[in-house]
Symmetry: none
Subunit: 206 residues, 4 copies
DNA sequence: CATGAATGAGGGTTCATTCAT
DNA sequence: TATGAATGAACCCTCATTCAT
């Protein structure tokens, strides 16, 4: 009985926490990073300002969660792709394509999040449970798959996964800044070409 | 005569500007990004707060200059390397190695600057005269060289240059966060291997 | 119950607002217009600076309220006079006399308020709900009364009301600057004589 | 000889003073009251900031002179009218009309000056050599003329002159705030009608 | 637990005035 | 006498955080 009550309370607590987080994200999307004030979040979540502090130690804590939340969404998409029945190299391409599509839909939020992302880079790079490492893990696993099926040669998959994640972010950053009408598919194709074939001249021609 | 006086004054002005900038950088290194306040900078430079505004329109202007200043230094090292008499691929390796050495020496400042860098990413990506594009240019030229000498195949050098810069940054970020005692040379070697040979399995048949 | 609590809170809020306003007025009286700084007001009201901003959007808002507060008091006295059972022309005289008495009591504050008054003249002249138009209305109504009872001829009562208000202000300004010991009653008599009889020579033929 | 040099220097000094003043007025007209900073004036006058202080004790001194200068211009127009060969009552009307025309041409400057005017009201009301009293004098003289030619009855001309000046100012203030397309002539006519005939009902009808 | 009024340190910026040259 | 760089007090305003209810 007490257990049931406790778990019910815990669930409620988690719900409120999520409410606050989503309110913050909503503000982020609508009005941008620096409009996220505790007052604003409280109003958006229809809670008292003091209440926010029951669920987040301080503003930094909240902001970190917001960033996490934003990138987690993308990380989950990666996970879903990883779980599907595709060739490993096709998956890598899908990671990139999906990222680009995602950023096209969420330009405003990601533009803002990049700030948080790099402001708090130390944290998520240090924190092995963060979206960052979760994503690197997914990428690394996919690379492992590719190695095992002989599609690519043996490399340090974590290192390459990290680089790949970073390359995607780079592509996204440019896409946000030069929102060109032309499709991003070419960029993704070029990226995959680079990662798979490298820069070395094709030996076949020789 | 008047000219001499003028040039002396101009030099003095430039000196004061540099003084302020260095004060800001000193604070950055010692106490971090967000401790850079106009008050603090003024005190550090031993000037009145109002004087700072004679040399920088506002805080943003100062901060941008600080960021530029930090990365420009590195960009100049790249330029110097590009000018030397090396094989183009060796140059690419040197870019990476030099970056890693540089960050090892300037850990604290670059760790902070990354924040500025990404907070103001829109600016320097949009501003084609920024250190960012200057660096991309150097990388692209080196890649062009490599293509012309048949060392690498034909690719979009600007795109790859951008990705390469980003990959170096990624390496630097990790190096800062896991300041391992072990040398970074392996990382650079792996990076070059990836960029040159790609992930595709070696054509063992040859 | 909830209602009672709410109304109690509202009353408290109104009280604090009045407190701040009065603090500002106190500074105005004691040290003059331009010594009213948010810091000073906060200290005088024994509140934190930030608290002031809960009750007044910004300094301008506070200052406007101060001005309004000063002149509204006089406007209310006019209203009270207008409501009494007097001959309309007697009322006009009373408006003037009361003003002079009022300024004699509140010299210091009104001397300062004149500054606010004319600094923000555009506002209260544009704002038809301001003390300015409230007063003009009262004067115009009294003039209307006088017309309807045949005491004065038909004129544009709003125009004349405006001029009358201004003439009173003129009298007050002079009274403040030459705080003569001699009574102001003569001034008021002369004013009324001018407004009623005009400058035209008396038709001695009658 | 020394005398000549001295007088030449004095003239030059006066010239520079006028230069500065006109620069301030130019800024006032173009950009408004609060854009008059010592820096701005110095630049406009093509002088060093420190030089301004050789000609005006401080900013207040300069601003007072600016105000004086603005109203003096109008005062001189009054003087010119007073000197012409008109019936005294016609002159009074001309004072008003001219004021309205003047303000229509110099809306921006007078709108700003009104602030200075009333901020420094104490000064010019106290200072019997100011434009204020100069104007009152002109008005009073004209009224004296009217009395002597039997056009109006005997009244305290200084008092009425003061009220008349104030009434004109009132008209001007309203004109600035409600810059109606319709001509101001009606307003002037009404004003003159009030001052000459008063509010008392016309006796002829009785 | 929830509330939200109160806090107050701290921020960036302006500009009248001074004074060494 | 003219200069203008340097000054620094003063200003308005924000907002994360606390705590009495």
């Amino acid at each position: 009985m007490n257990d049931r009550k406790e778990s019910r309370e815990k669930a409620l607590e988690e719900l409120t926490r999520k409410d606050i987080l989503e309110s913050a994200v909503r503000i982020l999307k609508a009005e941008g990073m620096k409009r996220i004030t505790m007052d604003r979040v409280a109003k958006e979540a229809d809670l008292a300002k003091g209440t926010i502090y029951r669920y987040f130690r301080n503003k930094k804590d909240l902001l970190d969660s917001v960033a996490d939340c934003g990138f987690m969404e993308l990380a989950q998409e990666y996970e879903s792709i990883a779980g599907r029945d595709h060739a490993p190299l096709a998956k890598l391409g899908l990671f990139a394509t999906t990222s680009m599509k995602y950023i096209e839909k969420n330009q405003s939020i990601l533009k803002e999040l990049r700030t948080v992302m790099f402001t708090t880079a130390d944290q998520y790079i240090s924190d092995k449970t963060s979206w960052y490492w979760k994503t690197v893990d997914i990428f690394a696993s996919t690379l492992d798959e590719a190695i095992q099926t002989g599609k690519i040669r043996e490399i340090n998959t974590v290192k390459v996964g990290t680089l790949f994640l970073n390359s995607i972010n780079s592509l996204m950053a440019h896409h946000v800044n030069f929102s060109t009408p032309k499709s991003f598919e070419e960029d993704v194709r070029d990226l995959m070409d680079l990662y798979i074939n490298g820069l070395a001249p094709k030996p076949t021609l020789q």
